[in-house]
Amino acid sequence: MAYVVRLEIFEGPLDLLMHLIEKNQVDIYDIPIAQITAQYLEYLETLEKLDLEVASEFLVMAARLLAIKAAMLLPRPTRPEGEAGEEMEEEDPRQELVRRLLEYKKFKEAAHYLQRLHREEERYWARSNSREMYEPFFQEENPLAGVSLFSLVDALRQVLQRIVDEGRTEEEITLVRDEVTVRDKMREIMARLFLRPEGLCFTDLFGGQTRRSEVVVTFLALLELIKMGRVRAYQEGIFAPIILYARMEKVRREG
């Protein structure tokens, strides 16, 4: 079978029908519905044999085609006498399908046209990375231009409001906040000091901490470590920075 050799993939039932009409060189205004329906079904069978999924739209169209075929076999209703002279437009069962096919084909042609247009456009080359190229020459850009501290605060307020609106509880939120314990903090301070045998500045220990509770916990942890003799604080003179050292020998003995 021809389809098995070269299986074309169609965009949809209308696409497939159009292909069959063109392939059979029949007139769209007089579709030999039995012939086309048979080929249409054959194609679907082929897809099924190949275990390809047949979209539901194809099946719906198959049903439509069979219905049209049946309608074509029915004898045309005879006209009541007296109206014989006047042409009464009977609806050809195929008419609706023809309309849709032509409408679809029209856009298919338009799509081809767009494709050609794009190919033509591709003959020209536009620059795409210009901004990156010039940015080094710009004066520094403030990404927060127009953003005030107030709007930052306002943004957070809205988030919190949303939490309230969504009925989420404060416990849920604090859960993720996971309060740091003094014990955790002691471990963290020791870890940091080990990495800094040359000493860590007291103020750096609090870098990036914004919650009062965390600052307090850090301070308590530090006091505890000094008390235990595991950390030594050293200040060269009044107002000089306080430098913290881990007392290695103490740790080793314990370890």
């Binding site: 084909k105 298919k108 767009l114 494709q115 210009s130």
Partner: protein, 194 residues
């Protein structure tokens, strides 16, 4: 106020550095000159670029002006980037785009009725490539989203505006020509008229 020579140089520099078409009014605002002055310089520039030795060309796209490399250089540029043309859009995406271009604003289900198949994927692709956008909602049940084309659509196809698209009727003729046998059409038309 700028000297004419400086104005020309600045406009050329801006157009060179721009990544998209710039409208005359945008350029005028940038250089703080009148639109007439800017338009006059651009017109002159456009002509100059046309000369054979020049590799750039100033084109009107999507309602603005943009600098491009001339087609004769593009094969070499593609060679430099080791690229053979772009992959382009799938058939499904192109069909969907054609329907949207000519029938905008249009809903997803209206598109799907014309194509006869689901078109979610094609619409998603087109949205992602910014060739279409949501332009509103249709009155009625469910208030479905309406789609329309974007400025990027004009750029993608090198159009100045939508009116440059040929009328849909042209394609109707092409459609009929390929689907109906000429004689048969006439005959049928005869029949239909009788």
């Amino acid at each position: 106020m700028l000297f004419p020579e400086d104005l020309r140089a600045i406009l050329e520099g801006i157009l060179f550095a721009a990544q998209e078409p710039l409208e005359v009014k945008d350029l005028a605002r940038l250089v703080e000159c009148s639109e007439e002055e800017v338009a006059a310089v651009l017109a002159k520039m456009e002509k100059e670029y046309e000369q054979p030795g020049r590799g750039l060309t100033l084109r009107r796209v999507a309602g603005g002006y943009q600098l491009f490399a001339k087609p004769l250089a593009v094969p070499y540029i593609e060679k430099m980037y080791r690229r053979n043309g772009s992959s382009g859009l799938s058939r499904a995406a192109l069909e969907t785009l054609a329907i949207i271009a000519y029938r905008q604003p249009i809903t997803r289900s209206e598109i799907e009725f014309i194509r006869g198949v689901k078109s979610d994927r094609a619409i998603a692709t087109l949205l992602e490539k910014k060739l279409i956008q949501e332009v509103g909602r249709k009155e009625g049940v469910g208030r479905p989203v309406l789609f329309g084309t974007t400025k990027e659509f004009l750029r993608y196809f090198g159009l100045e505006d939508l009116s440059q698209l040929p009328p849909l009727e042209e394609f109707a003729q092409a459609a009929e020509a390929s689907l109906a046998k000429e004689n048969a059409v006439e005959e049928n038309e005869g029949k239909r008229e009788s």
